[in-house]
Symmetry: D2
Subunit: 486 residues, 4 copies
Amino acid sequence: MNLSADKILHKVKNARPREECGVFAVYGHTNAAELTYYGLYALQHRGQESAGIASFNPLKLHFEVFRGMGLVSQVFDTHTLSSLQGTMSIGHVRYSTTGSSTLLNAQPIVVSCSKGDLALAHNGNIVNAASIRRELENKGSIFQTTSDSEVILHLMAQPTKEDILGSFINALKKVKGAFSCVLLTRKGIMAARDPFGFRPLCLGKIENGYVISSETCAFDLIHAEYLRDIEPGEIISIGEDGLHSYSLNEAEHRKAFCIFEYVYFARPDSNISGLNVSKARIQMGRELAKLYPVDADIVVPVPDSGNYAALGYSEQSAIPYYPAFVRNHYIGRTFIQPTQLIRDFSVRIKLNLIQQAIKGKRVIVVDDSIVRGTTARARVVNLREAGAKEVHIRVSCPPHRFPCHYGIDFPNPKSLLANQLAPEDICKYLGADSIGYLSYEAMIKACSEAHTDFCTACFTGNYPVDFDPNLDKLILERRSFLENFS
Amino acid sequence: MNLSADKILHKVKNARPREECGVFAVYGHTNAAELTYYGLYALQHRGQESAGIASFNPLKLHFEVFRGMGLVSQVFDTHTLSSLQGTMSIGHVRYSTTGSSTLLNAQPIVVSCSKGDLALAHNGNIVNAASIRRELENKGSIFQTTSDSEVILHLMAQPTKEDILGSFINALKKVKGAFSCVLLTRKGIMAARDPFGFRPLCLGKIENGYVISSETCAFDLIHAEYLRDIEPGEIISIGEDGLHSYSLNEAEHRKAFCIFEYVYFARPDSNISGLNVSKARIQMGRELAKLYPVDADIVVPVPDSGNYAALGYSEQSAIPYYPAFVRNHYIGRTFIQPTQLIRDFSVRIKLNLIQQAIKGKRVIVVDDSIVRGTTARARVVNLREAGAKEVHIRVSCPPHRFPCHYGIDFPNPKSLLANQLAPEDICKYLGADSIGYLSYEAMIKACSEAHTDFCTACFTGNYPVDFDPNLDKLILERRSFLENFS
Amino acid sequence: MNLSADKILHKVKNARPREECGVFAVYGHTNAAELTYYGLYALQHRGQESAGIASFNPLKLHFEVFRGMGLVSQVFDTHTLSSLQGTMSIGHVRYSTTGSSTLLNAQPIVVSCSKGDLALAHNGNIVNAASIRRELENKGSIFQTTSDSEVILHLMAQPTKEDILGSFINALKKVKGAFSCVLLTRKGIMAARDPFGFRPLCLGKIENGYVISSETCAFDLIHAEYLRDIEPGEIISIGEDGLHSYSLNEAEHRKAFCIFEYVYFARPDSNISGLNVSKARIQMGRELAKLYPVDADIVVPVPDSGNYAALGYSEQSAIPYYPAFVRNHYIGRTFIQPTQLIRDFSVRIKLNLIQQAIKGKRVIVVDDSIVRGTTARARVVNLREAGAKEVHIRVSCPPHRFPCHYGIDFPNPKSLLANQLAPEDICKYLGADSIGYLSYEAMIKACSEAHTDFCTACFTGNYPVDFDPNLDKLILERRSFLENFS
Amino acid sequence: MNLSADKILHKVKNARPREECGVFAVYGHTNAAELTYYGLYALQHRGQESAGIASFNPLKLHFEVFRGMGLVSQVFDTHTLSSLQGTMSIGHVRYSTTGSSTLLNAQPIVVSCSKGDLALAHNGNIVNAASIRRELENKGSIFQTTSDSEVILHLMAQPTKEDILGSFINALKKVKGAFSCVLLTRKGIMAARDPFGFRPLCLGKIENGYVISSETCAFDLIHAEYLRDIEPGEIISIGEDGLHSYSLNEAEHRKAFCIFEYVYFARPDSNISGLNVSKARIQMGRELAKLYPVDADIVVPVPDSGNYAALGYSEQSAIPYYPAFVRNHYIGRTFIQPTQLIRDFSVRIKLNLIQQAIKGKRVIVVDDSIVRGTTARARVVNLREAGAKEVHIRVSCPPHRFPCHYGIDFPNPKSLLANQLAPEDICKYLGADSIGYLSYEAMIKACSEAHTDFCTACFTGNYPVDFDPNLDKLILERRSFLENFS
């Protein structure tokens, strides 16, 4: 055997777009940190590179925080969880969006400032972070992370006569972009959602306390009762005097709910704006079948995100549903990757094909999205080798042609297959017999039970909030330090 | 927060029956250990508590072995894998069936004896191990593990004039029960399957070498070509002079293929005796729908093992299939278990219900088996709370009433729900509106494309190979040492 | 066995006073981070709870930092060390002085600010950190650590027209107390020592580059040439245009070199201000023998810090030296501590007595200091049980009666034995036959080859730099957050 | 920085000869395993690569064992230690003498056989293990370790009518060489020492129970009372009916106590045959000073094993003792080793020289032994560079010219400097001004208070027990399997 030097331990990379974060908070429960732990467990799909929980210890009168790299179940143990005392906690799971994983940027960020002690957990992306940061540095601020979230705390810390709530509201009025965030103070919990409502955020009740979560699925696990979604532009403050709601918006405002949460990111058992995610996906599959019918033998989903759309396609078309790709449930976070020994290894290690189910069949493959196309292409080869007579690709959203600036980590446009090629060329590139993307209108229709005010920038290039591409470069340039982590 | 002392870190226990082992072997490939690593990866579902690989280093002229507790991806790293040189390797994954995990019993077992150096990896259960062991001890043998597999090597080591092959055959003639095993010598690889063929074992080709695996799904990952199943009672020897086949059976022999491999254990993408496992399950679901039709709104599988049977039921009954239980894919091997905070925690942490999909519906739940019934019961409560109008349980095999003595770790009969209660009482106990178990005949019919010679002892109590219940106790008594593992 | 629940894994606590930090820096060497690693290795005695290295990667144009809890050899591996590229590095080892170990406070601290990217490693204690911090918070600064060192970077970041050097000098003019620190910028390395010169700091040469270290022993390991001590009040800047020296002091200034570095902290193979530490200790032992002679059979050192003083005592008194306390070299950082099973366990686990050497003897025990007295007392019991006829304690410095505010972590005054009792009562408390402390004058005399300008505040209460005890409390109150670390 | 690929993480290799093992046992104490843990802690210097403890759980009626690679403090934690229940325990620390560390050979070895369950921990070396092993294999035994100790258990397991004691005695009559071992059965503890008494073994009392240890220093830590040495050829059995002593020797027998235990291996605070080890070393130093006086300024020990001999030399010669080599106490078990960056790195990382103490001096360096000479040579260079005017090497034993077959791991004869060169050539090779080895007679004289019946084979080649060099090769050849350990 000659394991070459470069055959190192690789992380299991998901070729799919990656959501950056999930947030969770508990107010008024004696097991606040423990509930936060389970909440993060349920939100794990929103970020798998670091996890953290902060709480306020009312006896020792200080904040306690524990953060680490890895899954929630890897970061915490009974010892560390027990050390997080008190009845108020906030938590965070995240993907690192820089090249390397870095503990520096793990959240919650905890600081001491003129407004007292504060801890922040943030999901989203602040598009004017770079210019605010430059301005703050010029006033004397020092930045210890490369996260855009840090600017919120710096803005709050500026010398004003405002109380914490006032400074939180004012800070959020200055930042532009996507934010669904929770803030821990010595007196309570606050939560805020940007005026466009890009990322979800919802409110629940547990015994006499409150819980806040990126998605409703976290409420189910801990038997919390869903109360309502936090509104775009709403700020909530929970303390001894109960729950109060404030508004960031002076005037009425366009909404821009991220539609990709329905398409791919959110868990199927979550409801967003009252619409269940699995139901939205089934409806997308049905619309897709109406738009791109084809005479075939089986409908095969790309697990797991394509499952419900494939079901919808199957129901609409009356072509049998067959989960012919089998997922290896024991795939670790890391494995030893062979460089050349096994062709298409990273595709095969996760999904194996039931060859007998495919042989001689005309196959419709339903996927939730095609980003770079490399995995989709390998999958077609796979199907052909197994004896598929025809391979028809159906995608349950329109072509991804533009990057997201509001919290989703797509590859750069040049790597987006649909940015470079027209659908018919994509079909050729993938080696398929036909391809069909869900239309913009059909996608909106499938979700219309919830809203029609969606952010669809990644499909249309129509960005609800401006961003300065030059400043964006500056951010990267200024991402000038890096904590390595083994 | 008051994390009580007993709220310790629990292993994720599977309430389901557990297969004990998977085996893999490579002959004649320069990356033998690396291929074995990927083979074990694909067989991980057959055993998740320990993993090991042995190989013969032709330069240093010695055997090398690495074994550890945990998943294949946790046990091996590039360093340990690189240290396993040579063109021949065998590997093993296992569940520990004793109360505690124990490294002592991890396989391959490697020994030095009068026949030279030998390494053995074994899947199955030898029912006369206790009496052979007593006999061997009386002759002077010492046992360093509590595994029944060790007796095979002791029998081979007895002073005879036979060569390794001869002693392997003779040893296997003496042991009774289930064995699908692979043996590494300094000169080659051997493999054997007991005359009843309880556990699967198959042969493949990779470049100029051979591979042997418990299941065919491992061949797919490494691009090996499936050649054929190793026959019940067949011994294969692969060396410099090629592959030779021998027979253990003097006379024709009843076969007894474990049918539970189709029902639950094997991966759906594996083929056993030419029959694809997912196909068998779909056929079971169809038969179930014929036997126990009911007027309902949706068919909900218990993931993942119930998925295909539910599909079959849905197709046959024309009632829509809805995967309403959502699996948390990021559930770790260990997590912090709350004792009282969260009701039905261990059910909920793995599966969450899409409540909107259930509300007001008459639900058919398709499960592959009900063992103790505790999880199934919690699931019914779950469905009722979500607003299910009716809950109909359908099980894709007959009631499990008897223990397995051939390699599957069922709980003791008193804990087997169907051993204690009649179906109608089970239905009451579970709180369901109706229950339906697949009949024996229908189960056989669903798999008849492969065989009709199955071992169905766990359903019928009809054991193909005798076992002495007193000796069995002796084994447990003699399981008298234990290596703790943190 | 009944390991009670509270018999948990304890850290090996050193009952002795603890130095807080060691710093190291390299400029102009291709293996800068690697040399820093070895430098920190040699400085490990100055801090064992966390270690960190920062370097500037000239290709990627960013700072890289790796910090972790534990010994240098535990924190770094080849992978993490290799990731620290570039020809300039700074490093730090530290004790945490708060109750819990905390990664938050590990150094170097790395920030981005109006002056660019900066990394700082600091040894010492800034006595006006609390008031500066309050002032900075009122201006809008946020603090992410509870370390007093962070204020230096905040002061540098204030909006001024100064360059980095200017802002470094001005920041250091504002802070009071003890600082020996190194600063990494994108262009070079700076180093500074407070005007009193509390903590040591020295300059060396390696090939065409420079090295800076808390102690000279680090130079020996890496074959660097010692050039000179950095002067009290001196700032050094090393860059492309070579090394430049600046002064913090407007006027001549009293010096206050910490004499306890000679007595206990520094390694015996280091030279401070030209005086070798082992030599100073031998001289202390000689002076002690002159002041407190006693008729006895053997002189026994308390290893390792009492070794040289005991040798000096033995030489002066002509009483044989016998290392009768044997140190267990394999004692880990953590061990399982029995609560009651073994009397005086924490004394015995580290040092065992050669009983045969003691039996019937009149013993002089030479120790470098007595802080709480608990260990010293157990040691006397030990000697009596071994059959010592007389036990005479000799201490190579005056009684410790006051806390240190300049970087050494003594217990609070109430726990300082000499703060509570007169020497004759200490003798009774310890159960010794006589006790003798080195006099102030003799201690100064023993070190006079180097200086006579020492800080002796822990013996005399005469503090060279004022501190506000109320502000000091404030610091503790404001130590309001805490990162737990398992 | 260019950390080359081969600059991997090295184990801290001790260039000195290595003792292979230490054993410990407790009978009749409720904290048996815990006491064994502390006993092994005190014996850690006798073996640092693996540690293990076995005990008999009287409630579960089975043996429990935990073994691991590394130091005692690394292998065990409260969890694993708590799992070892019962009032009888045996423990073991060992060096692996094969090239790689291997868990396979960690002891105690635990087996089940015709005599019941047995656990063995062994210190020594059985010279006829290979021939016994071949004989046993021919009878049908299988070997699962490559340790010579395994043969003792196989011999005991042979089918006879003897009870455990009888089979233990008979087994030990068959093996030749060095053994000091402890055996755990379900009923009690046994201990045995070979007729020559090569390795030490002693008996103590703790409360109502007994303890057995390789060295007395382990008794001190746990407050056990030393009763006596176990005699050469004595077997002790401790059970419910108390302690009984048996003899292996039919006739009177030559004794052959390993004198190297006094010279180097044993801890200075241990007593062997009533003679304290530090005292023996001081006497060796005195004899050395009488034999090889030289006019010089200081006597410098090579720490730590040369300390007492250097003291003896200093006292006899009246030349001052100066510990000028300073040991780094924080050196980890592993560190990152530079290949070329730092000259003599492995010497310097452990010991640094106090240069000021050496400059212009005529130095006598006292070492306990010179094996390969590489370290000694680097040390002379070190002293010269520091300015030593003369360097005189004095060694506190005769030249090592022969390998040890009774439990000490010397390098092969070709690497033994004194096997290749005469003392005057060694002096030249090392670059010293003079060299003096203690004479055989003077060494015996220094230890004569204990015995005069020593094994001195490594100095004289006079082996008390024959060994077959061909069989020895066979052992190595048969060391044919290897468990890798990361």
